[in-house]
Structure formats: C-alpha cells, structure tokens
C-alpha cells in the first residue's frame, strides 16, 4: 500500500513548484523577452501489491519553455530586415528633406539665377540687374555648398554610426559566447535552464537588429552565429570581433572586416540587414548617388556657364572670366605674352626663356628689332628661327598652330598666336610627368628687365603661380588635374590622374582603374562596365581624360570619384558687376556708302580663342569680280578669303566669328565686322547664358540643369518611398511573427490567474489529504 502521506507530500511539492512557476510567469508579464513556462508533472511509478498497482503520487519533472524555435528564427530575420529599412528610411528622408525643401533646395536658387540673367539681358547696361545677378550667383553657391556639406555631414555621421554598430555587435557576440559557455554545462537536451535560453534569444534578437545573422545550433546546445557569406561571429564559446577601419579603395570612409585567428577579412560588401546593413546600403545606394548627382549638376552648371561667359565681353570690353569654380576640370589652357615693348623687350635685347611641359624643355629666344611690334615679337617667339616651332618635338600643323608632343604618348600641347600673346591648350589628358607649363630660365641681354605676362584662359581651371615670369623668377601655369586614390593594398608604384573634359558624357558613377597584369581597365562602378583599357593611358571614360604613370602591380586599383565633390567645391568667382559678360565680342555693320541692299546678321562667336577675333574685317564686293566678295583684314589689307561667290543667305566664317549675308549687294559694297567696343547695350551673350535654362547640357545634351536636379529629387523620393513602403511591409510581417510569438510564448494573466486558482486548489486538496491521513491515523489510534 502506498503511503498516503508520501503521496500527498509529492503532490504538495509538485503544486508548490507549479505555483512558483505561475508566480514566475506573472512576475515576468512585463518582460517582452520572457517565454512563459509550464511545469511538467509526471505520475510516480506505481507499486504492485498483489494484483493491483497503486499510484505513489506526482513528480514535477521539468519546467518547460513554451516556444516555437522556427518562429524565433523568423522574428530574427524579420527584425534584421525591418531595422535595416528603418535606418535606411530615416536617413533617406533626411536626404529628402535637404534636397526637396521648398526654400532650401536648389530650385529657387537656380530659378533666381536664370531670372537674374534674363534681367541682365533685358537691360544690359544697367547696374542694378547685374548686382542682382551677383547676388543670385552667391545664392547658388550657398545652396550647392550647404546641400553638399549637409550630405557630407550625413556621410560622416553614417561612418561614426558604423563604428558604434560594430562596437555594439562586438559586445553582444562576447555575451553570446559566454552564454554558450554557460549552457553547454547542461548536457541534457531537455534540462536546459529556460531563462538562460531566453537570455540568449534576446541577445540574438538584439544582434539581429544590428546585422542579419544565421544561427546554427549544435547538438550540445551551443549556437554558432554566422554573418555575411558565412563568417563566424560566434563560434561555440569564442567570439570573433568586427573591426571598422579605413576603406582601402576609398580612405574617406569606413569598411568593416572580421578579425579571427586566421586574420582580418573585409566583409563590407557582404553585410546585409540590420542597422549596420542599412547604413552601408544607404551609403552605397542613396548617399553616393545623391552626392554624385548634386555634384554633377554643380560641375555642369559651372562648366557650361563658364564656357559661354568667357565668350562674351564685359562692360569694360574684356573677355569674360569664369563665373564659377568647382572641381578641377578641362585641359591645361592659357596664354602668355603681354605688352612686350613696355615689359623690358628693348631694341637689341636678346630675350630667351624655356618652356617646360611633360618632360620637354623648349628653348625660345628672340632678338628685339627696332621695327618690332608686340605682334611681331609674339610671332617670332612662336614660329621664328629660335621660336617654339624650331624645337625638334614641335610640329607645324600648317594652320597657324604648333603642337609639342609630350614625353608621354598621346599627350601634347598646341600653341597658337593670339594677338600679341601665345595661347596653348593641352590634349590627351593631364600629363603624368609634369602637367604644368613652366616658363623658366628667362634671360635678357639688356637691362635684364624683360618679363612675360601670364593669362589663364577658357573654361578650364588652369591657374598660375604668379602673373609674370621675369629674369630669376619662373612662373607656372598650374593645370587642372586630380589624382585618383591609390588603393591601400597597391604594391606597384603607379599613379593615375584624371580631369573632366566633356560635360555631356559626365555620369554619376564612380570609376575604378584596375591593373590586371597586362592592361589597365577603366571600370564604371555602377555596372562594372569596362569603358576603356590598354597598357597605358591616356584613356577616355565618362567625360574624363585619364592618364597613368609609374609601374603598376597586378591587382592594383585606383579609385576615381569625379563628381562627388562638385557641390561642396562650388564657388562663385565674380565680385564686380561690371565683370558680367553680357555682350558679344564682335559686331557687324553695313557701310553707310553701300549702294546695294546687302545686310549682315549680328555676328556670332564660334571660337573665342581665335587670336584675330577682335580684328576689323571687311567683306568687300569687289567691282573687279562682280558677284563675288573678298574678306579683307583691314589693318594689313590682307585678303583672308578671295572671290567667294555670293548667294543670298551665305554664311561667312572668319577669325572665330560667323555672319550671314542677305539681300542684293552692289559692286563696291562693304560690310564690316569689328570688335564690339563700348557695346554696353549688347545682350547677346547674356541671352545665350540665359538660354541654358531650358537647354540640354548633360547626358549628350538631353538633360537640363533643372532635369538633372529633378532626377536627384525623384531618385531620392523613390528610394525613400520604397524604403518606407518596404518598411511597412516588413514591420507588419514582424508584427504578425511577434503576435505569433506572443500567442505561443506570451503570458496571459487570466490564464495564470486560473492556473493560480487551479494549483492552489490542488495544493489545498493535498493538504486536505494530509489532514485526512492524520484523521485516519487518529481514528486508528483511538481505535487502539
């Protein structure tokens, strides 16, 4: 016979445990990581007495977690996905706010700029619209810079967050390794401490918020945590640390690598999900493209406006200067010379100097004659006996231009006469040997007072070290050149240089020049397309000219970010309202004594760098050959074009301008094209500048500035919208998974209350059994 007392005692103990567990459940009702626990009761083995088996009571065999492991894994994955989207969407909407704010975005400034240009065009001689235009230019500068800077701030913030995330991840994985260690002690699969398992699940969920992980459970209860493409973050009781360090290709940002006993492996590219994955995604997909798009718009605006502005005449009758500056663009371009006769080139002096470019030295000298004009001197310096043309590396192209071949294949510098100056322009990209043009070793046999003036030219970003070269003081034209970033892992000695030369092909992708052991490959990173390749530069890709120098090693790479800094570097250069070049440099008139009805269209400029642009030229209908006209340089009387057959509507090109003739000429009629001196009411250049508002400039002339900026807004808008829609989807998925978890593992107070009542009743009943047992005993005793 079983002992009644023993049986009831077992019951008391069991229900005490059950009550304790219920109380534990109730106590943890507010703990969201808690999994409700249930006691497992088991009947004690019966005792056989005779033919009957008697039960011996109950045993509390286990306290069980009620959990669905698959759902837990699902929640982890959904958590990673939604935290990734959460951080992505929050940063995306910050970028969106920067670029789409009605007042702070680029559009009001861009509109203001073009409106101001229109106002200048309406009243080109008045000062007020010009001052307003300067203000509008500053406004554009301010917008570009502040938007660029804000994006940079976000980039830095993302970087420092990456650092924090990595630290958090390391803290969590260390903890996880410790819990693994604690759990492995309990070898029985069914007897693991449920609260420890809860703790591990909670840590894994926290980790999933940071980064998407894969959890693999071993038979001994240890959970290994894998990240990226299978790198072990937690391996048994050991955790591997993540390290955030400078990216080897782009040192201005952080990359993540995993540190294990085998060494460090960079895994930035394979990290997905979680806050860290979201940050990296945002940086690569949205921020980079936003910065590049904004930068490209800035560069395009600066370059386009500059290129047109330098074709005009300002109020003082000088060719326009650059309106804006941004990143270095264009070829090496400029001119030197000046007013020689007043600059120490005295009669009888032998003046000599050297020109240095791309490893070449061209020695030039000239003996000043009493009859020399400034133009004669410039001519002699360019193509005289001891002129530039005399150098063995210089080719006479036959059209007044002379080309110096550099020591680097494909790179050259072409010289041309421009009034009393010698103008030059490089081709083939930035010279890797010496991209500058240096005027040095100047000597003057006379008083030693000769000097040469330097003028940067054109839409390029060519600058100079000092305005004059004198005896003893060389001067340098510093060409626009940017050095591609050497990958930190490069082992070769090569360098890569680039300069933006063609706005219409400039795109928003970054580029990488990779050396494969035989060839350099210029890779467009947006789609990994190889745009150009070869054993050495110059290369052309994405509107850039790229040159190389030195000896590369296999696997070396060079990072090119052509547009990223366009916006932050955007500056307005004009300070004086009279510098705005609203006029065209030339004008056309018909002679007052003309008998015929021939008329000439306003001259348009086709080449501002033509040295004869401002020369006065007559179109003369020579009576000697009726029906034809000659184009005559008035100063020299030289016939530039002879006996051109006239027809109504004929276009005449000369000296960098173009005119159209209409009507019926009579013999002896004269049309004159001359420098537009005092032409303060001329707005032709301002109209052309203003016309760029609705003119395609980017993407082979298909995209206007407004469209380019609009593309940025809609790109960011779409990404923000998508990330927030996806976030909603993921959140609701996570929500239902969490609901499921709650439904399985959550504590229901009513249920616990009911349990409480149930177990209390059982306990009370057990107590009653003991009392009964005692009464039985008493009755037995009294019976004795």
């Amino acid at each position: 016979m079983p002992d009644l007392l023993v049986t009831s005692l077992s019951g008391l103990r069991a229900y005490q445990g059950a009550l304790a567990t219920t109380s534990h459940n109730i106590a943890n009702v507010g703990n969201e990581d808690y999994t409700r626990q249930r006691v497992e009761l088991d009947t004690r083995p019966p005792i056989r007495q005779g033919s009957a088996f008697f039960g011996q009571g109950v045993d509390l065999v286990n306290v069980q977690r009620i959990v669905d492991e698959f759902n837990t894994a699902n929640i982890r994955e959904l958590t990673s996905r939604s935290t990734r989207l959460e951080i992505y969407a929050s940063y995306a909407s910050r970028v969106e706010n920067i670029i789409a704010d009605e007042n702070a975005s680029l559009m009001p400034a861009l509109d203001g700029f073009f409106n101001a240009l229109n106002d200048v065009a309406n009243d080109p001689s008045a000062d007020a619209p010009r001052v307003a235009l300067l203000g509008a230019m500053e406004q554009i500068e301010h917008r570009f810079q502040s938007m660029g800077t804000e994006l940079q701030t976000i980039e830095q913030e993302v970087d420092s967050r990456v650092l924090f995330e990595v630290e958090d991840i390391n803290a969590i994985t260390t903890e996880l390794a410790k819990i693994n260690e604690a759990i492995v002690v309990f070898t029985d699969f069914n007897k693991r401490p449920p609260d420890l398992l809860d703790k591990r699940d909670a840590l894994l969920k926290q980790l999933s918020e940071k980064i998407q992980v894969t959890v693999v459970e071993q038979a001994d209860g240890i959970q290994n945590v894998l990240v990226g493409t299978g790198q072990l973050l937690v391996s048994g009781t050991v955790s591997n640390t993540l390290v955030a360090q400078q990216d080897s290709a782009q040192p201005d940002r952080l990359a993540v690598s995993i540190q294990s006993t085998a060494g460090a492996v960079e895994i930035t590219g394979s990290l997905v999900g979680g806050e860290l994955g979201g940050l990296l995604d945002f940086r690569n997909n949205l921020l980079d493209s936003a910065q590049n798009r904004l930068g490209r718009t800035a560069i395009a605006l600066a370059e386009t406006m500059n290129a047109q502005h330098v074709q005009g005449y300002d109020l003082e009758g000088n060719l326009g200067a650059n309106m804006f500056s941004t990143v270095s663009t264009g070829p090496l371009q400029g001119m030197f010379g000046g007013d020689y006769l007043n600059n120490g080139f005295s009669t009888g002096d032998v003046v000599s100097f050297d020109l240095e470019f791309d490893g070449r030295t061209v020695s030039v000298s000239h003996t000043v004659l009493a009859t020399d004009t400034n133009e004669d001197i410039a001519d002699a310096l360019l193509s005289g006996i001891n002129g530039i043309d005399a150098d063995a590396n210089v080719t006479d192209n036959g059209d007044g231009t002379y080309t110096l071949a550099g020591t680097t294949a494909g790179i050259s510098l072409t010289f041309e006469l421009y009034g009393s100056n010698i103008q030059f322009e490089s081709a083939g990209g930035p010279s890797p040997v010496d991209h500058n043009l240096t005027i040095t070793n100047m000597a003057d046999s006379g008083l030693g007072d000769a000097n040469i003036e330097l003028f940067p030219l054109g839409s390029s970003s060519t600058r100079f070290s000092n305005g004059v070269a004198t005896v003893g003081t060389p001067a340098v034209f510093v060409g626009p050149i940017t050095t591609a970033i050497n990958n930190q892992n490069n082992t070769g000695t090569a360098d890569v240089y680039f300069s933006i030369t063609d706005i219409s092909s400039l795109n928003i992708s970054d580029y990488e020049v990779r050396y494969d052991g035989v060839n350099y490959n210029v890779v467009r990173l947006s789609d990994n397309f190889v745009e150009d390749s070869g054993a050495a530069g110059p290369f052309t890709a994405g509107g850039m000219q790229i040159t190389t120098t030195g000896v590369p090693a296999i696997g070396d790479s060079f990072y090119i970010s052509p547009t990223k800094l366009g916006a932050v570097g955007f500056t307005s250069l004009l300070t004086d309202s009279s510098q705005i070049a609203a006029a065209s440099p030339v004008r056309a008139t018909s002679n007052i004594n003309n008998l015929g009805s021939v008329e000439v269209s306003p001259a348009t400029v086709t080449d501002t760098l033509n040295g004869d642009l401002a020369s006065t030229v007559n179109i003369y209908f020579d009576p000697a050959t009726p029906g034809t006209f000659d184009v005559i340089d008035v100063a020299s009387g030289f016939r530039l074009q002879d006996d051109v057959v006239y027809f109504d509507g004929i276009t005449v090109n000369q000296n960098g301008w173009q005119v159209q003739l209409k009507g019926a000429p009579q013999n002896g009629d004269i049309l004159t094209i001359e420098e537009n001196t005092l032409g303060v009411f001329d707005n032709r250049n301002a109209l052309l500048l203003a016309g760029f508002r609705s003119q395609g400039v980017l993407d082979s002339g298909n995209t206007t500035f407004e469209q380019s900026y609009n593309a940025l807004v809609s790109d960011v808008g779409v990404q923000t919208q998508q990330s927030s829609i996806n976030l909603q989807v993921e959140e609701s998925l996570l929500q239902s998974a969490t609901d499921r978890r709650e439904s399985i593992s959550g504590v229901n107070l009513d249920e616990e209350a009911a349990d409480l009542i149930r177990f209390q009743q059982a306990y009370q009943a057990m107590s009653r059994v003991i009392q009964t047992s005692q009464e039985l005993f008493q009755s037995l005793l009294s019976a004795v």
Partner: protein, 561 residues
C-alpha cells in the same frame, strides 16, 4: 487563438499609434494646404511638380521680359511719333517754301528758321535717353550720344546697328530696339533707287522729275549725268540736245548722245525713266545718281541751307554788252583796261585793244584773249581760259559766248563763296561802259561798270537761290522727307507688330501658365473639404480606439480574486 496579456496591450497601443500618425498627417496636410508633403509621398508627382513649378517660373520671367520689351518699345514708339510730327511740320513748311511765286527772301528766311528749330527738335528726339541714361538709338553703344554734328551741316552716327533682343517665349525672342542708323540714317535718297538733281550752276529753268525704274533687270546702280547743249547752228527758238554720261564707268563717251530735247518728254536709259521740264540753257547739267544713304538731319539741314543761303556756291556771269555803242571806240581805236579780282588773285590791267572796225564779237574775243595773256592763266583746248584761285580746287573759266565774255567759277562751296570783282575800268575818253549781269543763280552788285566813275567796281556774287534750282532742291528735300517718314512709319509699324506679337505671346504664356498652375494644383494641392472630413473621421476612430483600449485593459480575472 491564444492571446497573451502583452499582445492585447501591444495591439491596443499599435492601433492608437496608427490612428495618431494618420491624424498627424492630416493635420500637416491641412496646415500646409498640400496633398504631398515630401517627394517620397509620390516621387513621380513630386518630379512633375518641380517641372511644373520650373515651367511656371520661366513663364513668369518671360512675362517680366515681355513687360520690359513693351516698356522699351513704347518709349521708342512715342519718340518716333513725336519725330513724325516734327517731320510733318517740316514737310508743310517745305511745301510752303516750294510755293516760290508768293515767297520772298524774307519769308523764306522765316521758313528756314522754323525748319532749323524743327531740325534741332528732331535731333533731340534721335538722342533720346531712357531712364538709365542709355541713348535708345545708339545700338549697342548706348552710352555714346547717337548723333552728333560738326555745326556745319554734317551729322555723324556714333552707334552701331546692334539691336536688343528680349526673350519672350521659350523659343521666341522679340527685338526691342532699333538703331539710329536704321531709323534716321540709312535712308535712301530720291526714289529709293536713284536720286535726281539739277546742277547748282544751271542757267536754265528746267527741272528734273523724281523718275522711276521701268526695268529692274536693266538697272545698274551707276551715277549718270545729263548734259544739255545748244543746237548749233542756232535755231529759232533755240533748241537743245542732251547727252547722258555714265560717271561710274567714266568713259567720257555718252551712252546717249545728242538726243533732241523736248519739254516733258521721257528720258529713258539704264532701265529708268525721268522727265525734264522747262527751259534748259547750254551747258546745264542734271544728275541721276544711284540712291545713297542720307541721314534725315543732312536732308533737313541742306534744305535749311538752301533756304537760308544767298547762293549756291559757283558764280556765273556775263561781261560785255554793246561794246561799240558803249565807248569802245572802233572808229579811232581805243584801249580799254580793267582789273579782275578772284579768290585772292588779282589780274591788273586787262587791256582790250579795240582795233578800227572791230565788231562787238571781235572786241569780245579780244577781251577774252587779253585775259588769257595774264600770268598763271591756262588755255583750254576749246579756247577758253582758266584762272586758278589761291584756294586749291577753286578756279574761274572765261569763254566767249556770242558778243559777251562769260565766266563760271568752280570749286566754290556754300561756305566758301567766291565772288569775282571787276574794277578800275578806264579808257582814253573815259566813256567806256561794261554791261554786267549775273546768270543762273548769280547776281552782280551793279548792272554796269562805268569808266567815268572813279573807283567804280562791280562784284558778282552767288545771289538769291535760283528759283528753279531752289524748287528742285525743295522737291528733292520733300522726296527725301517723305522717304524718312515712310521709314519711320515702317519702323513704327514694325514696333506695332512686335508689340502685337508680344501681346499674343503673353496671352499664350498666360494661358499656358494657368494650365500649368491648374495641373500643379491638381497634383500638389489639398482638397480641403475632403481632408477635413477625413480628419473628423480619424479623430473619431482614435477616440474609439482609446475607449476600447481602456475597456479591454480593465478586464482581468485578478479583479475577481
């Protein structure tokens, strides 16, 4: 399904949060009045809005440009209207002056002075400045005064042919200014193709008509001269022939030689036709030149000059008379002497030796030959003599015509009048008398020169304008003024056309702008009624969620333990 206590709580909170978020969004929408609050609300719509706003902004600016162009063109139009009124008055005055029958020198002077005032007024209009101090008729060089004068009737244009274009449509520019050259300077003289004129020294009363082109294919822009010659031997009445020379080719050979002249008959050559009316005299010259550009100021200034000037430069006169009956004794013989003064050249004591029985013709020839013997006198192939003056290019040529000696100065100008003086006539009997008369537009101070009067001298001057010549000049001036007025009316019409096209462009811009604004508003703006009703609904929903939450939270079994 099993429900945990936390789940009930979480879902209640989530519901309320969702409803609060909706409410906040409605609140933002209503307070900003916009349906779309950020591009991510609807990226394609946001991109459309930027495009639309940019387009609207551009149109607004184009409208401002158009306003500016209108302002500029209105100023020009007003100026041109005023100029036209001035020209109208000049034209009236010219017609008045042309009525030579009733005018005298005094009335002509009065007309001249009014025309001069009008000229100055017109000159001021041509130099109109806009509110910025820019000369509106100086082309690109708006800080240069458009027209200046040297004070001697010569005007120059200091601007250029630049015109200001204003952008009024996205692909449309309108010209908002006209150069002074176009308005006031580049005006063809005559009929626009060629201009006729009478030589200032013409002695006859013939005048030439404006003429017209009858064959454009034959027409060449050359300069021609029609020269009249008296038919020799003389007929009664005297008849004339004319020859036409091409001065551009300057071959010296007439293209039409010795054509008989009949009053008013068409003279046709070079694809053109002109008429000459009236009575020419031998040597009269008419010119038919390809039209040149002549500025309006020169036209009016010349007119004033002709009205004001006493003469037209060259001096022409006759010395002679009935010698035999005027004390030139051909019975006993006589020696008559006189002095000639011309442009600083003094020919003293021209002595005419009158032989016994000399006829008047012989005496006249003797007188001519006597002049020819003076120092520095050149003999011409036709037997005439030329005396050069001290001024380069100024000379006087003497020849005999019938019984008289005639002379003609050349090279004189309006400002450099060359008179010819004859004085100190003397003969043995002190009874010689010379008949003195100017011809053409020249007058002489005396009709006779008398040897009996000591110190008697006669001066030939360019006299009051030759009536026919003045009429011809007034005709020409009227012609030119009409062409100027035509030109100004053309320019004004063009301005009107531009203003019209600006108007139509503005209407187009306006309707485009309204359309774009409607589209933008449809995309971007909020339907306020709908939004407010939404918000009311959302408020109710939130309240319901809150009440439900509180109710459900209150339910617990523990309440009953």
């Amino acid at each position: 399904m099993r429900v945990s206590t936390a789940l009930i709580h979480m879902q209640g909170v989530r519901n309320m949060q969702q409803k609060q978020a909706d409410l906040l969004r409605s609140h933002d929408q209503i307070s900003s009045g916009k349906r779309l609050l950020s591009p991510s609300d609807d990226p394609s719509a946001a991109s459309r809005i930027i495009d639309l706003k940019e387009a609207i902004n551009q149109i607004t600016q184009l409208d401002e440009n158009a306003n500016y162009a209108i302002q500029q063109l209105n100023l020009e139009e007003v100026t041109l209207d005023s100029s036209n009124l001035v020209l109208q008055r000049v034209r009236e005055l010219s017609i008045q002056a042309a009525n030579t029958g009733v005018n005298n020198l005094q009335s002509e002077q009065a007309i001249a002075s009014e025309v001069r005032e009008k000229l100055e007024e017109l000159f001021d209009y041509a130099n109109t400045k806009d509110e910025n101090g820019d000369f509106i008729f100086s082309g690109f060089q708006s800080k240069q005064q458009a027209f200046t004068t040297d004070g001697n009737g010569n005007y120059s244009y200091n601007g250029d042919e630049g015109q200001l274009s204003v952008q009024i449509g996205s692909n449309r520019q309108v010209v908002a200014s006209d150069s002074g050259a176009e308005v006031f300077q580049k005006i063809r003289t005559g009929n626009g193709t060629f201009a006729v004129d009478a030589n200032s020294t013409n002695g006859g009363t013939a005048r030439i008509t404006t003429g017209s082109v009858i064959s454009t294919s034959q027409y060449q822009a050359h300069d021609f001269r029609i020269v009249f010659d008296e038919v020799s031997p003389a007929t009664t009445p005297t008849s004339y022939t004319y020859s036409v020379y091409d001065d551009t080719l300057a071959t010296g050979v007439p293209i039409l030689a010795a054509q008989p002249y009949s009053d008013g008959a068409a003279i046709a050559f070079n694809g053109i036709e002109v008429e000459i009316n009236g009575d020419p005299v031998d040597g009269d010259i008419f010119t038919v030149e390809a039209s040149r550009y002549q500025d309006v100021f020169k036209t009016i200034s010349d007119l004033v000059g002709h009205l004001e000037a006493p003469g037209t430069g060259d001096v022409r006169g006759v010395i002679g008379g009935d010698f035999i009956n005027n004390g030139f004794d051909n019975v006993a013989g006589d020696s008559v002497a006189f002095d000639i003064d011309f442009d600083g050249v003094n020919i003293p004591g021209v002595t005419v030796a009158v032989g016994v029985g000399n006829s008047n013709t012989v005496i006249a020839q003797t007188m001519l030959d006597a002049i020819g013997t003076a120092a520095g006198v050149a003999v011409n192939t036709d037997g005439s003599y030329t005396v050069p003056g001290t001024t380069a290019g100024v000379s006087v040529t003497f020849r005999r015509v019938g019984d008289n000696v005639e002379f003609l100065t050349t090279g004189g100008t309006l400002t450099n009048l060359n008179s010819l003086q004859i004085s100190n006539l003397a003969d043995a009997a002190s009874d010689a008398v010379l008949d003195i008369s100017g011809s053409g537009n020249s007058v002489s101070t005396q009709t006779t020169l008398d040897a009996s009067v000591a110190g008697d001298s006669a001066t030939y001057l360019t006299g009051a304008p030759h009536r026919s010549y003045l009429s011809q000049q007034i005709d020409n001036a009227l012609n030119n003024i009409d062409r100027v007025m035509d030109n100004i009316i053309n320019v004004t019409t063009r301005i009107g056309g531009r203003l019209n096209s600006i108007d139509s462009q503005r209407v187009e811009n306006e309707s485009k702008s309204v359309h774009l604004e409607t589209v933008r508003s449809d995309i971007e703006d909020l339907d306020l009624a709908e939004a407010i009703s939404n918000m009311t609904f959302q408020t109710t929903a939130l309240q319901a969620a809150q009440q439900t939450f509180v109710r459900v939270q209150n339910l617990s079994l523990f309440n009953f333990l």
